[in-house]
């Protein structure tokens, strides 16, 4: 079940987007999200669409693979659409079913909101699909490093994120194993009302927590044994260095944002 969510999964391919510095991709994603909220008419959205389609093409990730990620948020999408469609007041009533009215404004907002949400998901999936989790944490650490001056533990947070990424599959497997072991002892994780179901989770959660703590303890010791002592004085095996293509990419992003803003101001 948890494995079905494509959002945030890395898709290995050999594309220019895969080669870009993770910082560029993070900044671009943020710029794209900002653009979606700045744009408020068809022309603006046209610019955003062109940008998105170009980026998806460049990523060499099959489109249907990306759409799979949309399935996970299908419900949210539907609910937003319905709410906007029926609850936005407007001047011209297009359709009226019993007491529910669809107005011209409602239709307009609903369509824009839906496009905005879909673009938002697609845009951020392009980033996660083309960037390994490790690069992502490295990128975040580097981007946030000015915050170190404000005593924000940037390195520690990034380290925690990458350890979490490493242990999620292990803990998922462990959950499966403990669950099976308790089912073999007659446990029931499916039937009963909500309270019973919650109570039935105790035999699963207690061993899982104990295991997670044991692993954390072991890992802390292993890290210490390998001379880990925080971010100070550490070198990097794969330091982030901007290449020429990264500057070009920044250039494209700046032009894109400028175009969106220009459309908004001029029209």
């Amino acid at each position: 079940m948890i494995r079905d969510i494509t959002l945030g999964q890395y898709y290995p391919a050999d594309s220019i987007l895969h080669k870009l510095d993770p910082r560029v991709k993070l900044v671009t994603t943020i710029a794209f999200l900002v653009a979606l909220f700045v744009a408020d008419d068809w022309v603006g959205y046209l610019v955003a669409t062109v940008f998105l389609v170009a980026v998806i093409k460049l990523s060499r990730v099959p489109f249907h693979f990306m759409v799979k990620g949309l399935k996970a948020i299908f419900f949210i999408l539907l609910i937003t659409l319905i709410f906007n469609l029926f609850l936005t007041p407007g001047d011209v009533v297009l359709v009226q079913i019993w007491k529910l009215k669809i107005t011209d404004k409602g239709l307009h907002t609903a369509i824009f909101m839906a496009i905005r949400l879909i673009y938002l998901i697609l845009g951020s999936s392009v980033m996660t699909l083309t960037t390994t989790p490790n690069d992502l944490t490295d990128g975040l650490e580097k981007l946030m490093s000015p915050l170190k001056k404000l005593h924000v533990p940037v390195h520690e947070v990034a380290m925690m994120m990458s350890i979490a990424l490493r242990f999620i599959p292990i803990l998922l497997e462990e959950t499966d194993k403990i669950m099976k072991a308790q089912i073999a002892r007659g446990a029931d994780f499916e039937n009963g009302n909500l309270i019973q179901k919650a109570k039935n989770l105790v035999p699963l959660l207690v061993p899982l927590f104990i295991s997670a703590f044991r692993r954390a303890n072991d890992l802390a010791m292993a890290m210490e044994a390998r001379c880990y002592r925080g971010g100070e004085g550490r070198t990097k095996m794969k330091p982030l260095i901007y290449a020429r293509r990264d500057y070009y990419a920044y250039g494209v992003v700046v032009i894109f944002l400028a175009a969106i803003i220009a459309v908004r101001v001029v029209l």
């Binding site: 194993k177 403990i178 072991a181 308790q182 073999a184 007659g186 446990a187 035999p203 104990i210």
Partner: protein, 288 residues
Amino acid sequence: MSLKLEHVQYTYSPSTAYEIHALKDVNLEIPDGQFIGLIGHTGSGKSTLVQHLNGLVKATSGHIYFNGEDIYADGYDMRKLRSKVGLVFQYPEHQLFEMDVLSDICFGPKNQGLSKEEAEVRAREAMRMVGLSEEYEKQSPFELSGGQKRRVAIAGVLAMEPEILILDEPTAGLDPRGRDEILDQISRLHKERGITIVLVSHSMEDVAKYVERIIVMNQGEVLHDGAPREVFRHYKELESVGLAAPQVTYILHTLKEKGFGVDEDATTIEEARDTILRVFRDKVKKHD
């Protein structure tokens, strides 16, 4: 009372690029009261196979019959099957969760619908079976030693009074004495209570001493199935699939090749000693 597998196949992620045939046409019969060793290296399908035996994993195709009844038939009571076929997982101590030993062992019987009192009677009996004295009843399972924790976990399955007990590598991580103690205890269960036992292991030497039948798994298939002495005759083939026969098998075969009339089929140290002594009896120096 028996468990019968007919043409059991199991495929992970069928019809995708990740398709793996974990089990290929497995046919087996486990009759009442046998002590069986199930051997294979990691990834041979042995762990997948045992999870089929109590219905935790459903075969992609094929049938499994317990006492003649098809366990995949509509309306078959899986929970009842699971209480008849007890499965002790690898590192079973990782599933302990209660505040004290007795309550943890009661978990299984209570799930079977027994009252607290009945469950406790069963739990105390199970503790005796694995050699845990009463003083442990109120202790936290997390403060016990590794070997003791494992006994508690095994008792947790025994308290459900299974007719077949399957143990997936019950000696993993234990020291030599701990290993012998657990295996002796299991062997006693088989002798005294007549419980059918399936011992999953990758150590031929551990298994040879106890079991009457060995099933060798390789790449999802049953490679050999027979008495230890028959199976170990194929020691060269076993070696080629990454398993080794006990050291005594090699010693006796080499002696035989060198022209000594030893019984090369002996499987335990005691048998090997006796057959070697028979050949070398004129060399035995009498003690004063």
